[in-house]
Symmetry: C2
Subunit: 344 residues, 2 copies
């Protein structure tokens, strides 16, 4: 079968790899019908993948092709969402709604023994806990939006939850990537009154506005902070969604959060420490977030997609086949594409 | 009148200073009947006070001696709690229950123009919003516990609230100072099932147990983390109360927090960055806290003191007159005393 393998910085190839096979009775194999490229895939693209080649991709919808003897809740032929993390669905953390702390946690396409979703098929450990069966056809027009439940929409929602977005709140979204845009959707959905998007890309800003952003801040650094203060009566935002993952973005988040406010951070942190510890303290800001428990959020978000209230699939602005994946990485890295969907 | 002035590291003196006077119509003057020395007073004691001498003390109970022409909710002769921060009681933040973000916020005894409470009297700006009138005699036997509502009990409670302590939770308290011990009271009061105190002082540990601590960890650093993991089934604590304020204590807090757990930090941070940003992220830990809105917590905590359900005044293990204040600093700094009460 064919799969995406990253060999070096900027070196993504489609290769023939051994067919995925059931290794444990709790495994399933899915044939991938939709996958995509994630902003977080650009970190290894720029900083280097795992040694020996990294199988890429952690977001998918697929059709169950085979199940192990101990898989009971997922059936062959079902259309399923594959969230980016593997979880058993039965441990204490899964039961508490935090499958990304599952005692069997592992991330797809992480360079270890977990296969990648930018492929014709892949093995799903703990299939019963991990996969979320859908009652739709594999070519349903809602597929792009359903695909976002595997990661990006769940992650935007997690940012909003961690930032304690509530009805009437002022929300600032740091980052105009696909996660930030899904953060706008999530903030609007949770009742935010003012939603400020920080960004400079005309097409992304336009989409953010359609998703519910009320204000745009295109300044950088201190000027951006000052502008947000002006937009929020001098106090800052109740909720800040940090959707980038750099030291600068978390520092900006802290600066624009209102006293008593909250920062929800979902950008995978490429920094070792949270800066401005004293500002965070004296403003009584809470900081929360991490890998989104996307699997646990599907039940809440799915009806809004099925009934047309939200349409996060609009973050996909390019679709490629497997052969187009390497160029998809290039385009996302060059910011030519916002988010690339893959149809293997 | 006589007041405490810190002139240099380790140099605390009782001096004659000009009598406190009403400066603005919203001021009041209180005669201090009880004050105390705070762990945070030891920071300037060791690192140096404000230039020119710092008037010390930010916790008091007193009797209103004089009021400005625009003070309406506080009357002469009333016994009042003076929380450590000045707040107007009417701004958006005060109304939201965060008076330590008041637009008129200032801290007593901070080295600026705010007078100190380790004195015969002091001026209270925004008296209507700041002071909390009590319906007790100035010599009520509950005075020690009532005095803790000015800061230390409110701060311990804030740590517990920020750490989202809830019924049945496992709580770890980092720091066995007076704030940590009040954190134990607060955790117990909010329904925690297991309360682990980290400390090594026999008398403090004994008091922590009387306040509700169920386990004691006297190891340091990695050994302490390992011990707490053993005590919590290998997962860590739901809620960690960080009551110290050093980089080591916040790093330890992050290490012993359970995935999805929360760290409430109230130790004034003497560090610039929050370490282990990646651990915090991948465990989905929330970190919150800051200067406690003690004024806002009084209404909730007061009945428990008046009706004998909590007795935080037991943190005071020494009482001095004004002349004894310098030795009180020495004793607290040497850890001979847990917390010193001052009766001017």
């Amino acid at each position: 079968m064919r799969a995406t393998v990253m060999h070096n910085t900027g070196d993504v190839r489609i290769e023939n790899v051994p067919d995925s096979v059931i290794q444990k009775p709790t495994d399933a194999i899915i044939r991938v019908t939709r996958a995509c490229i994630c902003g977080s895939d650009l970190w290894p693209y720029n900083l280097g993948p795992a040694a020996g080649g990294q199988r890429m991709g952690h977001e998918a919808i697929g059709i169950v092709e085979e199940i192990g003897s101990d898989v009971h809740r997922v059936r062959k032929g079902q259309v399923v969402i594959m969230p980016f993390a593997n979880s058993d669905g039965t441990c204490m953390f899964c039961e508490e709604g935090l499958p990304t702390a599952c005692v069997h946690l592992n991330f797809f396409g992480n360079g270890g023994d977990m296969e990648g979703a930018q492929a014709e098929a892949l093995r799903i450990p703990n299939a019963d806990g991990t996969l979320y069966p859908l009652d739709v056809d594999a070519d349903d027009p809602l597929m792009p939006s359903l695909l976002t439940l595997s990661d990006v929409m769940g992650t935007g929602h997690h940012a909003a939850v961690a930032a304690r977005v509530a009805r009437g709140h002022t929300v600032a979204v740091v980052g105009d990537g696909a996660v930030g845009l899904c953060g706008v959707i999530a903030a609007k959905r949770l009742g935010a009154e003012q939603i400020i998007i920080m960004g400079r890309h005309a097409d992304r800003i336009a989409l953010a506005k359609e998703f519910g952003a009320t204000d745009v801040v295109s300044e950088r650094d201190d000027a951006a902070v000052q502008r947000i203060m002006e937009l929020t009566g001098g106090f800052g935002a109740h909720s800040v969604l940090e959707c980038v993952g750099t030291e600068q973005s978390i520092a900006t988040s802290m600066a624009i959060a209102r006293p008593g406010g909250a920062v929800g951070r979902v950008g995978v942190p490429h920094y070792q420490v949270v800066p401005t510890a004293d500002q965070m303290f004296f403003k009584n800001i809470s900081v929360a977030g991490g890998p989104a428990p996307s699997r646990a959020y599907i039940a809440e978000l799915l009806p809004d997609i099925m009934e047309g209230r939200i349409d996060p699939g609009r973050v996909f602005d390019r679709t490629v086949g497997l052969d187009g994946v390497p160029d998809g990485y290039r385009a996302m890295n060059a910011r030519e594409a916002l988010k690339v969907m893959v149809r293997p």
